[in-house]
């Protein structure tokens, strides 16, 4: 209710995945970027779109480009990005993914 007042676009994020990967708690991240821990939870659930300032601070904390964490379109599953949508049988996709990883 009243979300239209401040959320015109859905910004997708993979904050929860990255946080899990790095074993960082919401409170740790919140303290590092100067936000309330609830705000981190609301961002992860898509209930709040962070400002550019906060998004950049989060990206800086994880030492990742901001577009790895936030996007206007839904993210592909990480397994797809790593191994390609064809699964393990596609050798060329695997090679491409390895190249991307190396870059």
């Amino acid at each position: 209710m009243y979300n239209f007042l401040y959320m015109s676009e859905q910004v997708h994020n993979r904050l929860a995945v990255i946080r899990a990967e790095r074993s960082v708690s919401r409170k740790q991240l919140a303290e590092a970027v100067g936000a309330h821990y609830q705000t981190i939870g609301h961002i992860e659930r898509g209930q709040y779109n962070p400002s550019l300032d906060l998004a950049l601070r989060i990206a800086e904390y994880f030492e990742l480009p901001v577009e790895v964490l936030f996007a206007l379109r839904p993210f592909r599953p990480l397994s797809d990005e790593l191994y390609g949508p064809q699964g393990h049988g596609n050798q060329r996709d695997r090679q491409d993914s390895a190249d991307r990883g190396a870059r």
């Binding site: 919401r26 100067g34 936000a35 609830q38 705000t39 209930q47 400002s51």
Partner: protein
């Protein structure tokens, strides 16, 4: 601008006073989380607070008008209950309307502005309805509402304007994010280390 939102110094948090840090701790006490866990419970707390406010004001006005000593006892009980309910609302909203702006982050400031805007409209509608009742009473020749002195109309109006943002913030609060896996991870690591 980085907002200090923890009691520890971070960025501009150096400006946070002892009072700010103490209030932050009080407003973020986990004890009230169960009472605010679902939308139904939040509605119940807000309804209870509104009812207690009306009961307390009614009791006070009766005490003033009738000067009956025994009304002091229920008034004292109502006041204690009202203070407890107010604490629950403030804790449930994480001090949205009690903490200073510098202790709120961007999402909380947006939530507070939203609650303020909705509360302004609600209080305006309530006062307009009350004014309409008085005007209508005059129009039908009831000679106003002689049993209600103007001072009490002002007191009730003040209470509505004062508390409406708190009620709206309570109703607009969202569910807490699910338990954090990383907290469990850290607790386990701490247990292992100890």
């Amino acid at each position: 601008m980085t907002q200090p939102t923890t009691e520890r110094a971070f960025g501009d948090a150096k400006k946070a006073t002892k009072y700010d840090r103490a209030m932050f701790r009080v407003m973020n006490d986990a004890a009230v989380r169960p009472a605010f866990a679902t939308a139904g419970r939040r509605r119940a707390v807000v309804s209870a607070h509104a009812a207690l406010t009306v009961a307390t004001l009614t009791c006070t006005s009766l005490l003033y008008v009738r000067d009956t000593a025994w009304l002091v006892a229920p008034l004292a009980v109502l006041l204690v209950l009202w203070v407890v309910a107010t604490g629950m609302l403030n804790g449930g909203t994480r001090g949205l309307l009690e903490l200073r702006t510098r202790m709120l982050d961007e999402r909380q400031r947006a939530d507070r502005d939203r609650a303020g805007a909705v509360a302004h409209r609600a209080a305006t509608a309530l006062l307009a309805a009350a004014a309409g009742v008085f005007v209508l009473a005059e129009a039908v020749g009831a000679d106003g509402l002689p049993g209600v002195p103007a001072v009490w109309v002002l007191v009730y109006a003040l209470a509505a304007v004062w508390l409406m943002p708190l009620w709206v913030a309570g109703l607009q609060a969202r569910d807490e994010p699910a338990d954090d896996f990383a907290d469990e991870f850290q607790d386990g690591a701490a247990d292992g280390a100890g």
